[in-house]
Symmetry: C2
């Protein structure tokens, strides 16, 4: 017991003393114009301690605002000079679903031009987004890539997004944007046409009644729904609003936390008489297929399931999900190119990426 406490105190003393040493070292770096700190391994060797102790020391300095950690790129002196080569990427959650891939693609394309990428999670909350944007306005990076939070809802952070423009930082929206700042460009997906093509695909397979699960609070969900409605009417299929279930960001969050009561009530109350479901994305499709099976409904025998994103969810089970996707790495690449153009003072162009269908077993 005492030994453990002793060891703990030693480590505590150690990382504080190392943090002091690094702070000293940073002063010298500042004078010499060096911005990037040595790696954790280099520090560990230099100070004869574990990498964990170095990490704790750096975390302390980061907390004090003296150091900025950049994913996949190391630690930097926190000053505005350094920010001239930093791109801030603001996402609901950089570690989930399609986002790690997009971050990697952004990094690859931006680092080729000498930029580092720093990720910020908003966890889908306007309060968190507000904190991130406030910090970015105070210490402006070279550019920002941001996914607008539930852009169907008015944002209380428009004031900060306009300040981003005022301090001269170019901004690229990912997937969907607000109409402010006016100089922003948006790299979206051709959601209307994608959904339209899914209805056509299902109609060609003989489906006459199609259901859907869409997201209510971002424009992607609304566009996908619009494509479903228009295609159904154009193709003379049966269409009823009563077969479409709307997920908010909050209900999606609950769904992913294994609360699939939503899907069971969709199956009970919204699905009949449909023989196919168009899902907002692969996450939803993945959990829907599980819920259909729990309800003894055969996929695709009784109900086909198709979806958007062609992500790892689409191939996670033996039964693959028929899903629309883009050319590999396209979103990150196109967004990086747009931002590089803006940062170089050239014109950045909004774009809507087209979709390709990958047919699998689900429908």
């Amino acid at each position: 017991m005492y030994k453990a406490l002793r060891r703990y105190c030693d480590m505590a003393a150690k990382y504080i003393s190392i943090a002091k040493d690094i702070t000293e070292e940073m002063r010298t770096m500042q004078q010499s114009g060096t911005k990037k700190l040595p790696s954790e391994a280099q520090f560990a060797e230099k100070y004869g301690c574990s990498r964990q102790t170095v990490r704790t020391a750096l975390a302390l300095l980061e907390k004090k605002g003296l150091v900025v950690k950049c994913r996949g790129s190391g630690s930097y002196l926190a000053d505005t000079a350094n920010n001239s080569k930093l791109v801030a990427v603001v996402l609901p959650d950089k570690s989930e679903y399609i986002y790690p891939g997009i971050v990697r693609d952004l990094q690859n394309n931006l680092s080729a031009k000498g930029y580092s990428v720093c990720c910020h999670n908003t966890n889908g909350r306007v309060i968190n987004e507000r904190a991130v944007l406030t910090a970015l306005v105070e210490t402006p990076p070279a550019g920002i890539v941001i996914e607008a939070l539930n852009n169907v809802l008015a944002s209380p952070n428009i004031d900060l997004l306009e300040q981003v423009e005022a301090v001269g930082v170019p901004l690229v929206y990912l997937h969907c944007g607000y109409n402010r700042p006016v100089s922003a460009v948006c790299i979206s997906e051709d959601d209307y046409t994608g959904a339209y093509s899914l209805v056509k695909y299902l109609a060609a397979k003989g489906h006459k009644n199609i259901a859907g699960i869409m997201k209510s609070d971002d424009s992607r969900g609304l566009e996908r729904y619009h494509g479903c409605v228009q295609a159904s009417l154009d193709l003379g299929m049966n269409f009823s609003e009563s077969n479409y279930y709307w997920l908010s960001s909050e209900s999606r969050r609950r769904l992913l936390n294994n609360n699939d009561s939503i899907l069971h009530s969709f199956i009970k109350d919204y699905l009949k008489p449909c023989t196919a479901v168009i899902c907002y994305n692969d996450e939803i499709a993945f959990y829907l297929i599980r819920a259909l099976r729990l309800n003894n409904i055969d996929v695709p025998g009784e109900v086909s399931v198709v979806s958007f994103d062609n992500s790892y969810y689409a191939t996670a089970r033996a039964m693959g999900i028929t899903s629309l996707g883009h050319e590999a790495h396209a979103v990150g690449k196109v967004a990086a190119e747009a931002l590089l153009a803006l940062m170089a003072g050239r014109t950045g162009r909004s774009a809507a990426l087209s979709w390709n269908l990958t047919e699998r077993e689900s429908g």
Copy 2:
């Protein structure tokens, strides 16, 4: 048994023969320029039959498109000449909630200027709206008052709304509109300010955490939500998206059909740690209070409930609901005035009606 059948056949023969007689009579009316048919009572007396038989005969003629029945005004020859004094009112359901009152107020204000009102239900379905609008384009009325269906979603009926403009029929949106036709005016409510004032009201009573149940697919719901968010932030209250539940038109429909599982899951998953709920309207507030009681949560002791519309739901129970409303008859009056201006070739003005709070027991 045979007697009943005989009676049925007699009546069937009777109403068909009366329908023929009325058709004859309508020819004479047409020649003389008379548009309005005698009342059911007058026909019944003339043909020596029951009013029910007359009603069945008129329904047959209406089905054939020869007669137009107008609520509260009688039956008319179906021709375009007659439509020059007809206003079509297109609603999700003219017989529910706030709509009967609005229809009555429209009628009172329009009939004073010699117009009759003809109501059409869409039941909240784009397919039905399409049928109604197609008929209105074919036989244009003098003007249209219409509540846009879920105007957050793109409408597949925009083509018909533009045709309404093309055939020269003025159109007034009620509550919320699309951005087409461009000549339309919209009589809405100041939803943002209303919601903002409800948060202020609750904050003044000491509430620090507020939850909400909003509608996701019309702009009223989004504006009310926006007011809640902005007021919470401005007043330094706690705000989290996780306390707001979104109802689509479909889930509202299910809720009103006594499926209140939605409200129980709101109480279980969204309400904590809030002590007040802002409801999209009195319907929702009414059912929420019932659900809170079933969960042994005291209103307003543990949770206050406030709402919009100040409708009969707000006073339907011993515990009245604190609710925002307008001056009596304001919506119908202002909409009628706007349409009368447009029909007279004058400029019609969009307006957003302000709200007044009626405090009752619920919060």
